[in-house]
Symmetry: C2
Subunit: 366 residues, 2 copies
């Protein structure tokens, strides 16, 4: 971390991380997974930081999950166990994938024979064997094979090809937005789909060594899905307003905010800050508006322009002045982090700047 | 431009600019402004590119508009006439502002005496005089003073301070979403508000040399707002799906798309591409979904995850295959450009990569 002498020297808007809360969030995820015999393979797309990934591994993460080749390159020397949870399509991406260090137990999630055969051919030519997790649709309807027969077919195809090895299954229950107790039907449906796939695989003598599932909204109930061996939650390292609204996190868990400055109070009933859609992301997540203030959760970011965030003062007695600083909890932390150049980090009384090495798409040249 | 030998070597997702269309869009804006005696001061927040800013100046732009200090630093040597259309709040931003090259006729838009007095004090200490455009609210209700009296008061305060000079007015009619013919009432209301402010200023002997207005949705009708001397449209250099929906642009004007690759067709009725909310931005602009295909506008990007875009195939006969490439017109071009590392540019038959020098927030060190 590059140290910061005076907090007032920091320009806004800037993403702001509380490292003590990050450690607590990591410990809690590790503890939950340990208690239920699950591997914890955090998705680093949320934080894109080598510092935070190393912290997750220190707290017991069994490996890392990435979505892009850049993320894979940046994280490759921190772990022996890397999952690219995204199909690598095209020569350029395959070349980057197969140039990753040889020490890695490298796995790729995919859902088509097109991607599989290109990967197998390229891996064989490179003298490598890449693990394959066949992706199944757990009901979200985004990617993943939609029938047990299709999953079995792709698993068998994997077994027949050189350059690849069938390691197991992957799914993402991104449609289940559940906190404690609710939507048990949706979770039971995920479990039933997985059970059907596992039975169909077993009937063909296929035993997935890895069954990778999980998300932050379903995190604390991952153990209810029989057969899952590991989870890949991302945002639970920082949390966000959505996690708060879903009851997955409480206010004391919020480890990421955007530090912003009031720049205008000219229109009555509102204050305008310098964090707009280019710092918070204008993502509607169903909660109304685009974020809330950490210290005044009754104040909602009502609207966003690119460099303007409009705070609604209707429900507060607070009278902000131009120049005053606020901390905003964004609706969706992953996309806000991705908009930052680097992050301001607080560790106890010490402040510093933390790079986001895995941001962007090009090859990483450290 | 760094040349690109083979287009298939380019990894997706990547923003993709057609420079011939950019030139045509620039020429049309310049022609319209010239025909109506208006200055054209494009807002470079849309493109964040020195190449495109230089092209706008070659086509007759009278100066440039920026929103951030980084944008100002990057553009400072391309023009003599720069407007920071955003209040610089805090010591760090004032220091950067006053470190801009001395050749610049520098102007700042602001709406409070707090910002004004800090700016004046810092400018005087730096031995500079900075021009001030007092921002008025034209009905959008975001920033800007809401009464003629308040505008007169801030203009008079400017005249009384060393370090600053009253140069005129600024407003942004961002609430008027009009193409040809429609919403004439909203435009007339903007004109009436401006007229009220100009009359109040005149009554105090204040004559604004600059009256800066305009937006892309109202661009072609800027001349209907009496008293405006210049416009600051941004997105009309590239356009986007919103511009198309509003009728401000036609399909042949769309100069920016996101090149993406189909990565999954496992779920019937849809195809998934590798451009998600981290390439397109998940901004609802009222058109349904988050973008359309350039060559198949009947195909809508129905939903976005961070690295997944789901194309709805309900209204097309097209049967995409994994590996196929598409060009997506995002809902809002400015926020999509801001998500790219650099852009793929097509100029006739030649392709190259174009940097986005003004992306990010830190000081620009060329």
């Amino acid at each position: 971390m590059k140290p910061v002498e005076r907090l007032t020297d920091i320009e806004t808007p800037v993403g702001y991380v509380d490292l003590e809360r990050v450690r607590r969030n990591a410990a809690r995820a590790a503890e939950y997974c340990g208690a239920h015999g699950l591997g914890w393979r955090p998705h680093i797309k949320t934080h894109k930081s080598r510092t935070v990934a190393a912290l997750q591994l220190e707290h017991g993460a069994s490996g890392l999950t990435v979505a892009t080749l850049r993320e894979a390159e940046v994280m490759a020397d921190l772990t022996d166990d890397l999952l690219l949870a995204y199909p690598p399509v095209g020569r350029a991406k395959l070349d980057r994938l197969l140039s990753l260090p040889g020490h890695l137990d490298l796995k790729v999630g995919l859902d088509s024979v097109d991607v599989l055969s290109d990967l197998a051919g390229a891996a064989e030519a490179a003298g490598r064997t890449v693990g394959v997790l066949v992706e199944m649709d757990a009901g979200m309807g985004r990617v993943g094979l939609t029938t047990p027969e299709a999953v079995v077919g792709l698993a068998q195809a994997t077994q027949e090809m050189a350059g690849v090895r069938f390691r197991g299954l992957m799914f993402y229950p991104g449609h289940v937005r559940m906190p404690a107790g609710e939507q048990s039907g949706a979770l039971a449906d995920v479990a039933a789909r997985l059970d059907g796939v596992l039975s169909a695989l077993a009937a063909e003598g296929l035993r997935p060594e890895i069954v990778s599932g999980g998300s932050t909204p379903t995190l604390w109930r991952s153990h209810e899905i029989a057969g899952v061996t590991e989870v890949r939650p991302g945002s639970c390292i920082y949390y966000d307003r959505e996690g708060l609204d879903l009851g997955v996190a409480s206010e004391g868990d919020l480890a990421y905010t955007v530090l912003a400055t009031v720049v205008s109070t000219s229109v009555p009933g509102q204050a305008v800050v310098d964090a707009g859609s280019k710092a918070l992301a204008k993502e509607d997540r169903g909660g109304g508006g685009f974020g809330i203030l950490l210290d005044r959760p009754e104040v909602v970011v009502r609207s966003l322009s690119e460099e303007h965030g409009v705070l609604d003062l209707a429900s507060t007695d607070w009278k902000p002045a131009v120049g005053e600083r606020v901390r905003i909890v964004p609706n969706h932390v992953c996309v806000s982090v991705n908009l930052q150049d680097s992050l301001l980090v607080k560790d106890g009384d010490v402040h510093g700047m933390m790079p986001l090495e895995a941001r962007g798409r090009g090859p990483w040249n450290p």
